[in-house]
């Protein structure tokens, strides 16, 4: 037999043999997750211990995950898409990557403004973005709303994270939803005027700079403060609930939806329902110091210590719809 024939035969064997070996099994649930591995692995492991169902997952940024789902089309292995920020979930739904889920359990466990009106995705943890300040140099009575951080008294005292981060894009999107583009742009411009330093790469840097005295007030997600305080309880940074006299603190979610071409949609829904349940919610949020979405679950004691607060009741899906406008607005306002 010539070498060529042997080679052809080998190719044939591979082409026929591989597919047979790769025929899918139904039991496992496959998850694409933009939530970090060290936060999500314990949750999935607990689920497997409890139900025996294997959860297979891969982590990446949201953009590549959505693109991956799209390119794979109906042959994707993913049953569940898990990501942070409602904007990303909204886009996934918009691109037709998710399917509606009719579940009484999810409807009962998750408040209406934290899930998709069409039931394509569901919030699983709540993230509040609010004001932090230096208790040494700021009297909390001086603070009131996000918009008020643009007032002249905060000139050279405000610190922000970069506008590249989706958390700030969603915050500005909510400002647009409430006050319209023009007024929102005025507010963002006034923030930029008040900056004490160029915007930082992350929320931790904002709070460390407040502690070091580079600025006095900033806007961050509460769980970053929770994690910093866990490691360094004496950090001179305190939390203020913004907009309590008005519509409430801007909240966002990390959440999930069942993919349109899921092979195991029942398994995905069961996992989703379990993650929203009382038993799992603390598991899901404690490691990251977030708030549970399920209102009957009490948050971690460190988080509960910040006291109750009024949430902005606008559906978080609006953040997705208005994200493009928000980014353009921040670019125009010179918020880097």
């Amino acid at each position: 037999m010539s070498k060529l024939r042997i080679a052809l035969l080998a190719v044939l064997v591979v082409l026929v043999g591989l597919p047979v070996a790769a025929v899918a099994q139904a039991q496992e649930v496959v998850v694409y997750s933009a939530r970090n591995e060290h936060l999500i692995r314990p949750v999935f492991e607990a689920y497997t211990r409890e139900t025996g169902v294997q959860v297979t997952f891969v982590t990446d940024r949201e953009g590549p995950l959505l693109q991956r789902l799209k390119s794979e089309g109906r042959n994707t292995r993913a049953d569940l898409l898990l990501t942070v920020d409602a904007g990303n979930l909204w886009h996934a739904a918009q691109e037709g990557l998710l399917q509606p889920v009719d579940s009484a359990v999810l409807a009962a466990n998750i408040p209406e403004h934290l899930r998709d009106p069409d039931n394509q995705w569901f919030g699983l943890s709540l993230r509040a973005r609010t004001i932090v300040y230096s208790p040494e140099r700021v009297n909390p009575e001086e603070l009131s709303t996000y918009a008020a951080l643009g007032e002249p008294q905060w000139k050279g005292r405000l610190l922000l994270r970069t506008s590249q981060k989706v958390y700030n894009q969603s915050l500005v999107a909510m400002l647009i939803a409430e006050r319209g583009v023009e007024e929102a742009e005025k507010i963002v411009r006034s923030w930029v005027d008040n900056l004490a330093a160029p915007p930082f790469a992350n929320d931790n840097a904002v709070m460390e700079a407040i502690a070091a005295g580079q600025g006095d007030v900033g806007i961050v997600n509460t769980y970053y403060l929770g994690r910093l305080l866990r490691d360094n309880p004496d950090l001179p940074v305190a939390l203020f609930w913004a907009d309590q006299e008005e519509s409430g603190v801007h909240v966002n979610v990390s959440g999930a939806g069942v993919t349109r071409h899921a092979r195991n949609p029942e398994g995905a829904i069961k996992l989703l329902e379990w993650m929203s349940s009382e038993a799992a919610q603390n598991l899901f949020v404690d490691a990251n110091r977030e708030y549970p979405v399920n209102p009957v679950v009490t948050p971690h004691p460190d988080v509960a210590a910040w006291g109750p607060f009024k949430q902005n009741p606008i559906n978080v899906a609006r953040a997705g719809e208005l994200q493009t406008q928000a980014i353009m607005l921040m670019d125009r306002a010179g918020y880097r």
């Binding site: 790769a22 970090n36 982590t59 990446d60 886009h91 989706v166 840097a205 502690a211 070091a212 493009t324």
Partner: protein, 561 residues
Amino acid sequence: MSDNKVSPTSIGPRRAPVKGVRTGPFQLRFWDGWRLFTLAVALLVLVSLGVVCFSWLTPPAEIWQHLRQTLLARLLLNTLWLVLGVGVLTLVLGVSLAWLTATCEFPGRRFFSWSLLLPLAMPTYVLAFVFVGLLDFAGPVQTLWREWFGRAAWFPPIRSTPGVIIVMSLALYPYVYLLAKNAFQTQGRRAMEAAESLGCGSWEGFFRVALPMARPWIAGGVLLALMEALADFGAVSIFNYETFTTAIYKAWFGFFSLTTAAQLASLLVLLVFILIVVEQRLRARRRFSTARSSAHITRLTLRGWRAWAAAGFAGAVLLIAFGIPVFQLGVWTLSSFAAEFNVRYFALLGRSVALGLGAAVLICSTALVLSYAARRHSDTFTHGLVRVANLGYALPGAVLAVGIFIPMAALDNLLINFGETLFGWRLRPLLQGTVIIMLLAYLVRFLAPGFKPVDGAMHRVTPSIDEAARLSGLRGVALLGRIHLPMLRGGLLTAATIVFVDVMKEMPITLMTRPFGWETLAVKIFELTAEGEWERAALPAVALVVAGLVPIILFMRHSER
């Protein structure tokens, strides 16, 4: 290329015309194995780039309008500063250090000669977060500064254009250093001695003789550093410095327009293509021929203050680019070790090393074949293919990852649908999430840093060497094994070292193409730094640096002999 007749050397300086010469069992036909292989590699790269460039089939969206009105001017200016700054600084650092360690004798030369390469193991994003952590307002240095000189004392801001340029250059100068040192060592002191005998001082000799002779290698090194700087996302986002890459990410992750992102990225490809052509113009029409092995070097012994200045300079660069960052990472690692370390780290390390090794073998052999192909076929077509094959390094990793992923997913879908309609199988994707795909993706991305040193070494194999070997009866595999490989060994080792370290550091492609549950050290660093947990990221960063050091030290030992 129009000057084909004048200079058949459009890829490298000493490309010999081998038309009509028959080496080994292969006949020089138009479609011989060399050229077919080159075509295959170029096609692989072209398909990935094609996905990016075909974005122009969709007309530019309103996002373009917006970017043009608000950001584009600043982005271009920032990118220009970055290219200029990193270009000049890596050139100055790399060439001066290479010159000192290759041709001069001063205290500590042997040590610096290999240790100056260590920063190669330090990913740019790691160096960035270390320096921002150390030198920003809240960091220990400025805190101490304020304690000494009062709150209002001025301190140069690290998050600034000079800050980005300096930090990035410290991470990237080893590319220039490595290639330039190779060149200086090869030319030896002979040329300089000749120049001095003609009345040139040592400064003049350096600028008029040694530097021009080493130009192709230096240009190659700077080009690698610039491509790396243009494609970088991790470091610039830590500095919140807006470049072309950050705009690409904004278009994609912010505006959810992969089309706009790809359009921007294709402009970047164009820019790099221009850089490559300029680099080749710089080298063209020159023939360099002296080839002396490093054993023949007699070094110029520096004395007095010169000796100490040389040692001080090399020491300072090493300290800033490697010593201080490693110390800081060590401190962070100690504080987070108990919380962060577990047995899984060995698996992460193992996968990183395995990927690096696999990619190094694949890319070095590919680079070797391409280099031979370009040597055998001195026509524009083959050289064009080789040039295209090198373009993948220019693209930001995430964009390239998409460019690779989309066609592979399409192929998978084809196979799956085929299996279903023909045999009724319900299949899993066969290609996605396999290590083969990862390796092919790395090949597309890292062929350039592998090809440059191999191709550089290939220039030393002059046609007269082949002739001589053939006269003594060596041909085919024997010629390759007994004459070529020993001469190419240095270049191959350089290439393998760079690729191994680069692949271990790489994040976006690894994230997107890896099999389920396949974490590596770089993935771990990504997960932790994405949420600003720099201290916890120190442990995987240290592991990555240490794993990268081993081949670098082995390689330098080898080349020092």
